[in-house]
Amino acid sequence: MAALSPGNQGVRLAVRYLVLILIALIFIFPLLFMLMNSLKPTEQLLADTSSLRAFLPVGDLSLDNYVDAFKRAPVGTFVFNSVLVTGVTVIASLFICSLAAFSFVFLDWVGRGILLSIILATLIIPFETIAIPLLLIVSKLPWFGLNGLEIGWLNTYRVQIIPWIADGLTIFLFVQYFKDLPSELVEAARVEGASWWQVYRRVIMPLSGPVLATGAILKFLVMYNQYLWPLIVVQEESYRPVMVGLGYFFQLNVAWGEVMAYLSLITLPVLAFYLALQRAFIASIASTGVKG
């Protein structure tokens, strides 16, 4: 095969970067649109939508939409609720699902294959189909709290967290990852006298950074974008998450500038979380890709 001349290589590199830049722009345009228009009055925003001005910081720019968004809705409460519910669910989910996966991969017990199949089968059931039965269940569940025995979980944080902790996808991710870890590590630890808990805690989990990051990001997105479930189980404003809060801005005359400001505000935690775990997430995707 003939070697590429330095000139050809340069052209190829330039084309490759051009394509990548174009793809990046396509993905970044919605975010840019949101940010730029959050700074414009609604009339200007509507006038700009049909031109490139919609993506540029031009015209009458101010932070008024942000101020008005905070006046219209308790934005801080909604963001706090979503971050709390999402944060607790992600941590609990990683712990419970990794334990389940550990049990499926490393422990030998009767029926684990069938049970794993059943768990994986839940992946094809859309949440909407079980929302009503689940609502009926949680509305009658008991809870022992500071006020003693209470019946019904509606209008609480726990109703937004507990049903979402364990899920088939996260367990599947951990199972696949654990299967690819060298079994010699586990065997050596057991020979050295480590308990199963110690194997999980000191051998497996320290090696599971990429899958933890992937599971965390996927779970974070699911939880942060929750709409239907909180809509039907939370009637009190003090427990509402960000996506239900978005409805506050859709009045008869939609204040689009405020919508963009609100969206920009609620996107910040997602971006921060993704950037924090970006390296591990990419490492996980890359390792999956190499094997595939």
């Binding site: 009339e43 509507l46 939508t49 006046k71 219209r72 809705a73 009503i132 609502l135 009926l136 509305s139 019904g152 509606l154 809509l231 039907i232 189980v233 009637q235 009190e236 404003e237 239900v244 809060g245 978005l246 409805g247 506050y248 801005f249 859709f250 009045q251 008869l252 005359n253 939609v254």
Partner: protein, 420 residues
């Protein structure tokens, strides 16, 4: 003895305290995010709580888009509050489904109310609203003068033929992107609310109101077919933007001069007045043969079936029906106050007020959407049929399919409790 006296004293204080304790009532409202509306409804709640010692109402507001789903979910979970607000056409469904109980108020209080805000189902009053909403043809005096078009009145609205000629004339002028804006970008309840009165003016309807057992002959009869052909011609001939209309154009197109006439509601009127001032005209719906018609009924208050204190809930609703609150809501959010006396107290709807015509339109032309629990399904079927016909679907086939869907739903629900 001293201990006995102390005990008796304690019991007496306890009883006295118990006798004066207020009973808590919960209320849900659809206006979260609307600063003006929230302020008004909170004011009514505060005034009611201060006016007596028997009941204490606490308010929970929801975003309008999520409200109905939240109520249905709460009904399933047995978690309904005492007082609900409900959109007028949805009320029969909630009453039939057992979410609401009849409203035990003195009906003489609402004798002067417009028909739209009174929510009757199965012969019983279930809900009452503080306001109504109305739709009109909105245009400019200067346009009518320029093109030599007659100004229609309540007594002598445009006929269907006259309306078509006007649209053709405006279209031929080339001065506008479209001569008419029907608001096709506003999907959802706007379609049956704004467009089914046009069908009714042709002599058709969404369902047969005599029996509520079928849509056959009403939604696919000769009158409905004539309406469907006319409806499709509006889009085919480029008289009005279609279903792909940009929502921004719906909001601002008329104000920017893109459209000569808009079919729009009184809630949008104040924005238009700001742009065109005295040049603006609100005109009655055209008469396509069976009289000019517009939609009616907006949000109303009712008592949930779960309430153990319907008397307290009704006391609150009756309290809220005072003219001063009707007028305050109207001034605040631009809707039509339910009574003439309240209208006279408002800036917009008092005699000679810029929007007074809407009160007259509502009184003279308003037709309730079908008063049946099946309306919630029928509205969606109608919306789809209107969009399909606008997009070029065969009129007769589309209306026949809509009738089949509506009839099948009625059958599935055993007639929705209507006595046939």
């Amino acid at each position: 003895m001293r201990k006995l006296a102390l005990l008796a004293g304690t019991i007496f204080i306890g009883l006295a305290h118990g006798a004066s304790a207020e009973t808590a009532l919960k209320m849900w409202y659809h206006g979260a995010g609307n600063e003006v509306e929230s302020k008004l409804i909170n004011q009514i709640v505060a005034d009611f709580n201060a006016s007596q010692d028997d009941w204490s109402v606490s308010l929970e507001s929801f975003p309008q888009g999520a409200y109905n789903d939240s109520v249905v979910a709460a009904a399933l979970a047995g978690n309904l509050p005492d007082i609900l607000d409900v959109d007028g056409p949805v009320m029969p469904n909630w009453a039939w489904a057992g979410y609401l109980q009849p409203l035990p108020i003195d009906e003489s209080v609402i004798a002067d109310f417009l028909p739209g805000p009174k929510g009757y189902w199965d012969g019983k009053l279930y809900s009452v609203g503080l306001w109504d909403a109305a739709v009109a043809l909105v245009t400019r005096k200067s346009i009518l003068e320029k093109y030599g078009i007659r100004t229609p009145t309540l007594d002598k609205p445009w006929t269907g033929a006259e309306f078509n000629e006007i649209l053709a004339k405006l279209k031929a002028s080339g001065d506008f992107e479209y001569p008419l804006d029907l608001g096709m970008a506003w999907t959802g309840e706007w379609y049956p609310y704004a467009f089914s009165p046009l069908l009714q003016s042709f002599g058709g309807d969404i369902v047969d109101r005599d029996t509520y057992a079928s849509a056959d002959g009403k939604l696919n009869g000769d009158a409905a077919l004539a309406f469907g052909e006319w409806w499709q011609s509006l889009f085919k001939d480029g008289m009005t933007p279609g279903t792909s209309q940009d929502p921004a154009d719906r909001d601002n197109g008329f104000n920017e001069g893109k459209y000569a006439i808009a079919w729009n509601g009184n809630w949008a009127a104040t924005g238009m007045l700001k742009v065109y001032g005295d040049d603006l005209l609100f005109l009655p719906a055209p008469d396509f043969g069976s009289g000019p018609k517009i939609g009616a009924a907006s949000w109303q208050f009712g008592v949930s079936s779960a309430s153990k204190h319907p008397d307290g809930a009704a006391a609150f609703i009756e309290f809220a029906l005072q003219d001063k609150y009707l007028a305050a809501f109207s001034d605040g959010i631009g809707l039509i106050p339910a009574t003439p006396t309240a209208a006279a107290m408002t800036e917009n709807y008092k005699e000679g007020g810029p929007l007074a015509v809407f009160f007259d339109l509502s009184k003279a032309q308003a037709v309730l959407r079908p008063v049946t629990p099946g309306y919630v399904v029928q509205a969606k079927v109608f919306e789809k049929a209107m969009a399909d016909i606008a997009n070029g679907a065969d009129v007769a086939d589309t209306l026949d399919a809509a009738v089949d869907e509506i009839d099948s739903d009625i059958e599935k629900n055993q007639g929705y409790g209507h006595q046939s």
